[in-house]
């Protein structure tokens, strides 16, 4: 027993040395974990700006003098006269060329209560023109409604009649649910980190070692193949865990730079949430490394291992995405590795209490598959076919 542990320890140390020796390769492997939080931050910032900000729009008004109050209303909505466009934006707005024509009879028709038509001209297929056009539409509608309301009011009509039915939305999400975009991205990135960070270590310690003839030497030693596989698994998944940890820490730092309150959201990753996430992702890290080792040993060369295993990492990114798109989720998805975890992660971000049974169930299934992979691999390594990349 003791001897087993000493052997395993020696093997693990050997694997760690191999894995951590090339610092630069390691940094590249962890690059995704470092860049993901930055990506999340930038994406959220852009999204929030799109949702909240109303940058100035410059419109060519024809006949502005006929409707001073309408022009004032536009100005309040940051829809400004083209004459006031700052120099550096002039060419942009010249190109977008949005024009509103106010008819000459505007004032007279308004006083007589006749309907008035404004004409809005723009290239409606131009994507950059669409948000301004939408805002102009809203501004005109609001302006028109407010006058319409007053006209009826002054004729002795109860203006509440104009809204016979009103739909009040009641969001049942927990009040502390986070901004969907961040939680979705973070969920996907965490899965990716679990799969990607340990990737190079897994390939190198399997197909790589085989090509460098290190594997043969290892197998000649009086240790069981199971221990060799375990040592490789531990080393690769350690790097994966480091990647996950990095994402968790860096995200909670970087999101602090985004003013989520602008859209009524918040994001805080407290210790307990982070711990649950880590607990969920630990089996995934092992599972991922086991898969990668298994596939890498199946291949004939280092090159082939790289491309084949590279395809493997598409799966984790794919599954959470599909799951989040699904409206009706079949029960069995809860049990599936990756899918189960990603649904639980989604719930955690929604502020729903953790369903521990689901956590244990999906973790158990994941671990079981990992164990099966490890045992199968240990058995395979006894065959020369695998060791010599024959078959």
């Amino acid at each position: 027993m003791n001897l087993d542990l000493i052997q395993l320890k020696a093997l693990v140390i050997k694997e760690y040395r191999e894995a951590f020796r090339d610092k630069r390769a390691l940094m590249v492997a962890l690059m995704m974990a470092i860049l993901a939080p930055v990506g999340i931050m930038v994406m959220s910032k852009i999204m929030i700006e799109k949702l909240v900000d109303e940058p100035p729009v410059y419109v060519k008004f024809i006949g502005a003098e006929h409707a001073p109050k309408l022009i004032k209303h536009f100005a309040e909505k940051n829809l400004l006269d083209f004459a006031d466009v700052p120099k550096d934006e002039k060419s942009t707005w010249e190109q977008r060329n949005i024009a509103i024509e106010i008819p000459e009879d505007y004032a007279a028709d308004m006083a007589e209560g006749k309907p008035i038509k404004l004409h809005l001209q723009a290239d409606f297929t131009d994507k950059a023109v669409q948000p301004p056009v939408r805002r102009i539409n809203n501004a005109v509608r609001a302006f028109s409604l407010s006058i319409g309301y007053k006209r009826l009011l002054l004729r002795g009509v109860d203006i509440r009649l104009l809204n016979p039915v009103k739909l009040v939305e009641q969001d049942t999400a927990k009040p502390d649910a986070t901004f969907m975009l961040i939680s979705m991205m973070l969920g996907i990135y965490l899965m990716l980190a679990a799969f990607m960070s340990g990737l190079s270590v897994a390939i190198d310690s399997s197909a790589g070692e085989r090509e460098r003839n290190v594997l043969e030497m290892l197998l000649c030693q009086p240790v069981s193949t199971l221990k060799i596989v375990l040592a490789k698994l531990i080393s690769a998944s350690t790097v994966a865990v480091i990647g996950v940890l990095l994402i968790l820490i860096l995200t909670s730092v970087s999101v602090g730079f985004v003013d989520l309150t602008k859209i009524g959201a918040t994001f805080s990753l407290d210790i307990s949430t982070a711990a649950v996430l880590l607990l969920l992702l630990l089996p995934i890290c092992f599972f991922a490394s086991a898969c990668q080792l298994f596939v890498a040993f199946q291949t004939k060369s280092f090159k082939e291992a790289q491309s084949t295993v590279g395809m493997l990492i598409g799966i984790p990114a794919f599954i959470p995405f599909v799951v989040s798109m699904m409206d009706d989720r079949p029960q069995w998805l809860n049990w599936l590795p990756i899918a189960g975890q990603s649904m639980i992660i989604e719930n955690i971000f929604k502020g729903v209490d953790v369903d521990w049974l689901a956590v244990f169930a999906t973790s158990a299934v994941t671990i079981a598959i990992t164990v099966a992979l490890v045992l199968a691999l240990a058995k395979k390594l006894k065959s020369e076919k695998v060791v010599m990349a024959l078959s």
Binding site: A111, R151, G156
Partner: protein, 480 residues
């Protein structure tokens, strides 16, 4: 090792008992939906003694709501909203307050409490026929029997529904929610409540905003002079506006003419009910006419229509006035029982006949604003607040005082009383705003700045200067 575990276990038991003792099942708090707010908020009730002198006597449940801070990563003392009236229910105002105080809510909880006697805190309400039938009933149609019947149906000891007990409730809710300190925003009567809060529990307050002040020094209920001032400012502003002056060159004279005509002979006009669309009658006398105009003076939108309404009435067209009346028809704006209970007992007794005569000496609605009190107050059970109640409040708490220059009930001179007596305060008078400035102007941003800095004298007030002069509608078809 064993000992540590036992200690931890003991400790957790202790804290468990400590919390349950503190709450003693008096506090309930759960997620709920409120008004038109999309996200979930928290609704709660706290059981308090009806009479704080008899803590074991009858209990009442005070209803409240918490609009939780959006970003609660850093604790900041919450903002409690003290409603106006007296008699407005704060929780019922949640939708609007959630919008007005959205900047504040980003980092602070907002606490709304239904003052005892309003909302769902043992409401005191009267259903008067004149209120049910706004178009055909005249204001003096209120008959004494109605008032008697209403007072008779109140449950509990109505004399306990006073300002001081309301403040005791507010502070009890603060304590029950586990806050050491609060910020408070009081609007209109809420400023009176705020001032009483400052006197009774100064140690519970971090900072105070008083918007449109009803100071202790000025009894609530005398609105003759302030209403006339607000109305005359409107007449002046119309005169100074080119378009308004052109459309209504004789506005002041036309107003007096309509008033005189209606005083001589109330008008009875066949109209279509604005909501039901069925034939009904509009009966209107001078008191009802000025009363409805007075109500428009509270906000800038209502004010913008007043010249047009007067002019059309002068021409014999009361439809614009009917439309304005329809805006709030059938809505209960205040819990009338509490309104009368507090004003009749805490403010009216302090007014001498000479005070009343002086207030009635105005060219807008004379003594009309006193009519309701004179008619109703004799029927309400009597209580008198403590002597301290009428002392000027001098608490040394950072206080921001806001007044709207055009306000018909709490003119800027009211705010001056509090500015003078409170050592750490600053009074901002907003030129082109009416009642409760923060509800409709960028003053809400200044409040947010004030809550952060707590320096009432060093705030950026520049945005208030950009509020445009009031403008008026000049045609029933709208604006050019």
């Amino acid at each position: 090792m064993n000992i540590t575990w036992k200690n931890i276990l003991a400790l957790s038991l202790l804290s468990l008992t400590a919390t349950s003792w503190a709450n003693d099942n008096k506090l309930t708090l759960e997620n709920c939906h409120l008004g038109e707010i999309r996200s979930q908020v928290k609704c709660g009730k706290l059981e308090v003694p009806e009479n704080y002198q008899k803590p074991d006597g009858d209990k009442i449940a005070v209803n409240f709501a918490v609009l939780p801070a959006i970003d609660d990563s850093e604790y900041k003392a919450p903002l409690m909203f003290l409603a106006g009236g007296p008699g407005q229910a704060a929780v019922e105002l949640a939708t609007g307050l959630n919008r007005v105080f959205r900047e504040v809510r980003k980092t602070r909880d907002i606490i709304l409490v239904d003052q005892r006697g309003t909302g769902e805190s043992s409401p005191l309400s009267c259903e008067f026929e004149a209120v049910d039938n706004v178009y055909s009933a005249l204001p003096d149609a209120l008959n004494p029997q109605e008032v008697k019947d209403c007072v008779a149906q109140f449950k509990g000891d109505v004399t306990q529904y006073n300002s001081e007990n309301a403040i005791r409730d507010f502070d009890a809710i603060r304590a029950a929610l586990g806050h050491e300190k609060l910020n408070i925003y009081g609007g209109s009567y809420g400023t009176r409540a705020g001032l009483v809060f400052m006197r009774m529990f100064p140690e519970s307050l971090e900072s105070v905003v008083l918007d449109s002040v009803g100071p202790i020094e000025v009894p609530i209920g005398m609105f003759g002079q302030s209403g006339a001032r607000s109305f005359n400012l409107l007449i002046d502003n119309c005169k100074n506006s080119e378009s308004c002056n052109k459309a209504f060159p004789n506005l002041a004279a036309e107003f007096q003419a309509v008033k005189a005509r209606l005083a001589k002979q109330p008008a009875s006009i066949d109209i279509l009910h604005p909501r039901l669309g069925t034939p009904t009658k509009l009966v209107i006398d001078d008191t009802k006419f000025t009363g409805n105009l007075r109500f428009q003076l509270y906000g800038m939108e209502g004010r913008s229509m007043v010249p047009l309404v007067i002019h059309q009435a002068f021409l014999g067209n009361y439809q614009p006035l009917v439309g304005l009346m329809a805006r709030t028809e059938g809505e209960q704006l205040v819990y009338t029982g509490l309104l009368f209970n507090i004003v009749c007992n805490e403010d009216m007794p302090r007014l001498s006949l000479a005070d009343k005569a002086a207030d009635a000496n105005n060219n807008f609605d004379g003594k009309d604003s006193q009519l309701a009190w004179d008619m109703v107050c004799p029927f309400f059970p009597e209580y008198r607040p403590s002597e301290d109640f009428y002392q000027s409040v001098t608490a040394d708490i950072p206080t921001l005082i806001l007044s709207g220059n055009l306000d018909p009930v709490t003119p800027p001179s009211n705010g001056e009383y509090s500015a003078k007596s409170l050592p750490n305060s600053h009074h901002i008078i907003v030129e082109n705003a009416s009642h409760t400035v923060a509800m409709s102007t960028c003053a809400s941003d200044i409040i947010q700045e004030f809550l952060t800095s707590k320096t009432p004298k060093k705030l950026d007030e520049s945005c208030l200067k950009d509020i445009p002069q009031e403008t008026f509608m000049t045609s029933v078809n709208g604006i050019q």
